[in-house]
């Protein structure tokens, strides 16, 4: 697609085209769902959702044409199209696509209100996508709420055993609590700067005025966002919610809303408060160290695979935040790359866990995974591959993610942070290896081997394939993704803070 498209439709609408496509898909799903007779299987609606997501992904790609325009924002300066927003749009649409494919094959056969399930995922994706391109705090706030409410509801979707509602209510209460802080922070920053447009806030923060209010605002907003990315000490909801929510939903909510929230974190820190970098860098240093250590130490003690992966995701948030210690736009580049690498391996890991444990989590424990490699070599192999990536062994996306994050932090002078990070990576290897060993162990002779809970269908194989391909590409040829991340970082940063030789590693 070329610039011709721009003449066909107003550019403003083009700037939110992926969101529009997703919204239309969601409404279509709801309409078809309502018009179908009650006992017809809604599975095909999932294919509709997946198709819509593919179109949204293509629409995000097509938005590259918008970059040739001088004007970067649309809708009276509320959304911005940049390499940064397109990077995260593609990433989020990819994750949502993989999740939909997983859900297609693993949701129970009937009576599970699949139509609403797919519609919720699609509408949630609207919020997540919009969050990465919004440059005005009102749009940011509403987009954040859309993505949050979708995930709260999805977390409570498995209602049969009471764990779903419990997980959802914990997630909801803590999430809304964080929203309260975020909104209060927005009010403070509005009071101090008189604006809710991120670039204007940056200008007025730079020129000074009410430093106390601005610091308070930054702190309150950080509390809100760090809750969403489950960084310590705001992580307490994570293990319970991941355990109680259905695995396909965990695959989504451990990656897509987090990617969007990290995009928001980057935009708030580097877009609105770059002048305060000397203040927020040590704060995030501390959060990174806490997240890694708390996550890994707690993960060591887990027997439930989903809980273990929940703590591991807290630790990964820590590795990612370590990148913020890097100087200038190298930090953003590394953080964007890490988000992509983390998302592809984590969504893959949860795809396999869904298949092995089943939608109702019949086989949730590490010891239940014993001998999976012999029962179904494909699944065992795939899970081992994703775990290897999570450890950070070369030729996987996880390796380069950590490598870039730590080199960037090193470049920013945070030697201690890197040392703690490396120690933590070693610690983390212990519990990933425990699961790998369990998978690769021969099943005991006397005990009947439990079958894998779910058959492997076409859709979920496609999902696994996509996740494996993404993890491999990021691990073997990270150049292209890194280049896009770097371009996004370059566009995001105020020009006074650019590091020219940002790509030290390539």
């Amino acid at each position: 697609m070329t610039l011709d498209l721009l003449h066909l439709m107003p550019t403003d609408l083009f700037r939110i085209l992926p969101e529009v496509v997703l919204t239309i898909t969601g409404v279509l799903i709801m309409l078809v769902d309502a018009s179908l007779p009650p006992h017809v299987d809604r599975r095909n609606l999932g294919w509709l959702a997946a198709l819509g997501t593919v179109f949204a992904l293509l629409a995000s790609q097509a938005q590259l044409a918008l970059l040739q325009l001088a004007e970067r924002t649309g809708f009276y300066g509320t959304v911005e199209t940049s390499t940064f927003s397109i990077f995260f749009h593609v990433l989020i649409c990819g994750i949502v696509l993989v999740t939909l494919l997983i859900a297609l094959d693993t949701l129970p056969e009937n009576g599970h209100h699949k139509g609403e399930f797919f519609a919720l995922i699609t509408f949630g994706a609207v919020g997540m996508c919009l969050l990465t391109s919004a440059v005005e705090l009102l749009v940011v706030f509403i987009a954040l709420e859309i993505s949050s409410i979708a995930t709260y509801v999805l977390a409570g979707y498995r209602k049969e055993n009471g764990r779903g509602p419990e997980a959802a209510i914990k997630y909801f209460l803590l999430g809304s609590f964080a929203t309260g802080f975020f909104l209060y922070g927005i009010a403070m920053v509005f009071g101090a700067t008189g604006s809710t447009v991120i670039s204007e806030i940056a200008t007025r923060v730079h020129t000074g005025g009410h430093p106390g209010l601005i610091l308070l605002a930054l702190g309150l907003m950080l509390v809100g966002i760090l809750f969403k990315v489950s960084a310590a000490p705001f992580h307490i909801w994570t293990p319970d919610v991941y355990e109680g929510a259905p695995s396909p939903v965990v695959a989504l909510m451990s990656t897509a809303p987090k990617a969007a929230a990290f995009a928001l974190l980057i935009r708030i820190l580097y877009g609105a408060f770059p002048a305060l970098q000397p203040i927020w860098t040590p704060l995030l240093w501390l959060v990174a160290v806490l997240s890694m250590t708390v996550g890994n130490l707690a993960a060591l003690r887990q027997h439930n695979v989903k809980r273990m992966l929940a703590y591991s995701s807290i630790a990964h948030a820590g590795y990612l935040i370590a990148a913020f210690a890097g100087a200038g736009n190298t930090g953003i580049t590394a953080a964007c790359f890490y988000t992509a690498a983390y998302a592809s391996m984590n969504v893959g890991a949860f795809a396999v866990v869904t298949l092995i444990s089943g939608y109702e989590d019949e086989l949730p424990l590490i010891k239940d995974f014993r001998g999976v490699l012999y029962r179904t070599p494909v699944l065992g192999g795939a899970l081992i591959f994703f775990l290897i990536s999570l450890i950070g062994i070369p030729f996987t996306g996880g390796f380069f993610g950590k490598f870039f994050s730590f080199t960037t932090a090193m470049g920013g002078g945070a030697v201690w942070l890197v040392l703690i990070g490396l120690l933590n990576s070693g610690l983390a290897a212990a519990y990933y290896l425990r699961l790998i060993v369990s998978i690769a162990q021969k099943p005991e002779g006397e005990s009947p081997v439990p079958p894998v809970a779910q058959p492997i269908g076409v859709a979920v194989s496609a999902a696994l394939m996509l996740a494996i391909a993404a993890t491999l590409v990021l691990g073997i040829a990270p150049g292209e993704v890194l280049k896009n991340a770097a371009e996004g970082a370059y566009e995001l940063m105020p020009h006074s803070m650019q590091m020219v030789n940002s790509l030290v590693f390539f």
Binding site: L120, G127, V139, A168, H210, G212
Partner: protein, 171 residues
């Protein structure tokens, strides 16, 4: 006049808030919250935000709080029992709240030259509000429709009985 009204209704809001915190029965807390919200509506009116004052009364005190009281009645949840867990949370919750209050208050009191503008008699008309709402803020306005849609969808999906439960009930 402004000062008297402010003291009266700000005091009422704070009293309502404290009552919300100290009441044991959920319905009393919910009713105290209505007091807080209505007093806030008066404060908004004094600040010249009449449309918002109306919205506050209609949406918050009207719709949301009716929903709250309705749910409280539906669940018939009695007095809150004080368990060991809640004692632990009291010892964490109150110092945290006091600390936040101290931080915010000290920042506000220290801020120099904040809002020296005096209250004029300029009052926004609903016409001006809609002009901005449907022009500059048309995107957030449209996106809010997705938010409301997802909230309805979610509430229906959550509060409805699943098929599995119906089977369980029949047994």
């Amino acid at each position: 006049m402004h000062l008297i009204l402010f003291i009266l209704f700000a005091g009422l809001a704070i009293a309502g808030a404290l009552n919300m915190l100290l009441q044991k029965h959920p319905i009393n807390s919910a009713l105290s919250l209505i007091v807080v919200m209505t007093s806030l509506a008066v404060l908004y009116l004094m600040l010249g935000a009449e449309f918002l004052a109306a919205a506050q009364v209609i949406v918050y005190a009207g719709a949301i709080m009716v929903l709250f009281t309705f749910v409280v009645m539906l669940l018939n949840a009695g007095r809150e029992e004080r368990t060991l867990g809640s004692k632990a949370s009291w010892s964490v919750g109150f110092p945290a709240a006091v600390a936040i209050l101290a931080i915010i208050a000290s920042v506000i009191l220290k801020a120099q030259g904040l809002g020296n503008a005096m209250l004029g008699d300029k009052i926004t008309s609903t016409e001006q509000v809609s002009a901005v709402l449907f022009k500059e803020l048309v995107l957030p306005f449209e996106v809010t429709s997705v938010l409301v849609l997802i909230a309805i969808l979610g509430a229906v999906a959550l509060a409805r009985r699943g098929d599995g439960e119906e089977r369980k009930d029949r047994r």
